[in-house]
Amino acid sequence: VVWWRRLSIAAKLPLGVGTLLLVVLGGMTVVVYVAERRGAIELATERLNRAGLQFAVGLGGLTDQRVRGLTELSRTPLVRQFLASGSAALADEVADSLRAHARTAGADAIELWSPAGRRLLTTDVEALAPRRLPESALADGTIPRPGVSGFERRGDRLLYTVALPVRVGSDGRAMIVERHALDNSPEEAAAVSQVVGSDARMLVGSPGAGRWTDLAGPVPGPPIEVSASPSPIEYERSQGDPVLARVLEVPGTPWLLVMEFGRASVVAPAQRFLRRSVLLALVLAVGGAGAAWLLSRGISGGLQQVTRAAEALAAGRDVAPIAVARADEVGRLGASFNAMARQVADSRHALELRVADRTAALEAANRELEAFSYSVSHDLRAPLRAVDGFAAVLVEDHAEELSSDARRCVGLIRNSAQQMGQLIDDLLTFSRLGRQPLIHTRIDMDALVRGIVAESCAGRRRDPAECTVDPLPPAWGEPSMVKQVVTNYIENALKFTAAARPAEIRVTGRVADGAAVYTVRDNGVGFDMRYVDKLFGVFQRLHAAEEYPGTGVGLAIVKRVVERHGGRVWAEGAPGRGAAFHFTLPGSNHSEHTDPSTMA
């Protein structure tokens, strides 16, 4: 269903129409085909029935006629006399008569048998009469009804006999037997074709003996055991084609008549219809889909234009106006899209101009700031150096001319000048740290902190502080700037633990949420949490300058550097109970974070 939703409208419509046509036409084709096929089979069955019955009755009539002919022959006085007397003197005359009858009846041969079962006379020159009397003539002790035998094969011919018992004397029962071939009538086979159809075939056989003929000659019988039934049966011929067949008894004989119809030829018209219909359905479906495609292209062509333009607009590219040449819904959509695209382009252009303006202004401000820093750095320090320098000269070269109060005043002048120099240096550092580009590298914080601690804790004071550094996780950042942060934190801690005995400073670190968190803890004078907001501000001090020297820029520098790295700073403490200062740095190389203060 997902792929259907993803299809464009131009494809959906023809696909839908084509599928619909295919389903409808296909369904109709199947229904008609089934009905057609059933009708064809019914028709064929009816024809089979009719033709089968007709030929069965015809064959029955034929044998009947033979029996009647024999009966007439048996009643002729010559034959009766011969049978009663068995006189050899009559034999030639009787033989002539029999030959004449055989010619008339189309029989192969006629024989006369005595009640004792001896052949008295035969017209068969080959004398190939059966050695036993046909079974039909020997049913029991009573005089049997006239009988027709099953088939018997002689050479490539199938023969049957019609036997008629003739009463001789009081208990004698002679037999008159006529032998016929059934397969010598190709005209009968032709008649079948004419009546039933060329694809039909008629078999006559005696199932017990397995001898079958199609009236033209002996043929193999049906591949299955067949028996007379009122409804058609189906089987496959030896060649593998299925046939529809009707099996009937031939009246007055032990024969079965099988009328076969090739099933393929029965259903062939229906199948032909099916093939044509499927082809037609396909052609119609393709044609319908094509027509639907033309139609939908007309509608969706405009839509696609708008869609492509909207996608381009969404991707931030410039879009040429869409040509609107129609007034329907699609045309109105295109027109309003054009208006919208124009507005978007206008506002984007305005935004770009504004960004360019702001960027230029920021760059100018940055340049000014740089010039200002330079001036501060250079020009502000020169007079300070003169103040301090000449005050020093005054003390050194003119000491005896100055009173002690004057010397104290000169000392104050020098202190102030030096303090201002320090202030300028710190401010410049603060400003520089805001502008300096960040190049992130992996920093071994453990080594860095240990180096600073070793230098600061031991070196600066008469009574070294007890500094401990726990194992620290690495961080990503600009090494020189991060070093400044750590230095400021450590210097701060040292400054405010000056009175503690012993001074204890501990640096710890951990990793939380992908960031490295570092803490510098001391047991110094601490601070009141009420003023925690002022800790990291520029020039903010919580202690008097006389008590704890410093410019009040150190923690502001820390804050600026850490925030430029995407980290944060915070602190906690209590008066007289020490303080803990924290900062975080990126724990991994995610230098893509925005650096909001680069421009400041």
Partner: protein, 145 residues
């Protein structure tokens, strides 16, 4: 402070009169101020070195103490001319300036400065800075012949 040119050992290029005096005082304390020539801007410095009007061979002091921010021709240009000229290429130049701006430092080293010293505000630190530089370049350093 005009002295015999041939005896000049230090060329001090500095526009600020206060700084000139303080520098000379610092040098004097260590008896290094006797052979100092002071140029008050870049042009004077170049005139002294190359003697634009005389056209003769340049006069080479043992060291040049060069401020960066100068009227007319600034310190960087003076440095560029000294280091760009075959005759003065080997002359040691020590930049002595108030600027600790990273771009200044980088540019000076790119141009081949021999040393870069930021003038401390504190006079107690200024004096050793200047005298150490003077002692080093005049007495300790072995120049090429």
């Amino acid at each position: 402070m005009m002295i015999v040119a041939d005896e000049v050992e230090i060329l001090l290029v500095e526009d600020n009169a206060n700084d000139v005096e303080l520098t000379l005082r610092a040098l004097r304390k260590n008896r290094l101020a006797n052979r100092v020539h002071v140029a008050r801007d870049g042009e004077q410095a170049l005139d002294f070195l190359f003697g634009e009007e005389s056209g003769g061979p340049p006069r080479l002091p043992k060291v040049v103490l060069l401020d960066l921010k100068l009227p007319k021709v600034d310190g960087l240009e003076v440095l560029r001319r000294i280091k760009g000229d075959e005759r003065t290429r080997r002359l040691p130049v020590v930049v002595l300036t108030s600027s600790r701006e990273e771009p200044d430092i980088a540019r000076c080293y790119d141009l081949g400065v021999n040393s870069y010293i930021v003038k401390p505000v504190d006079f107690e630190r200024f004096v050793p800075a200047v005298t150490q530089a003077g002692l080093y370049w005049l007495l300790l350093n072995q120049p090429p012949h």
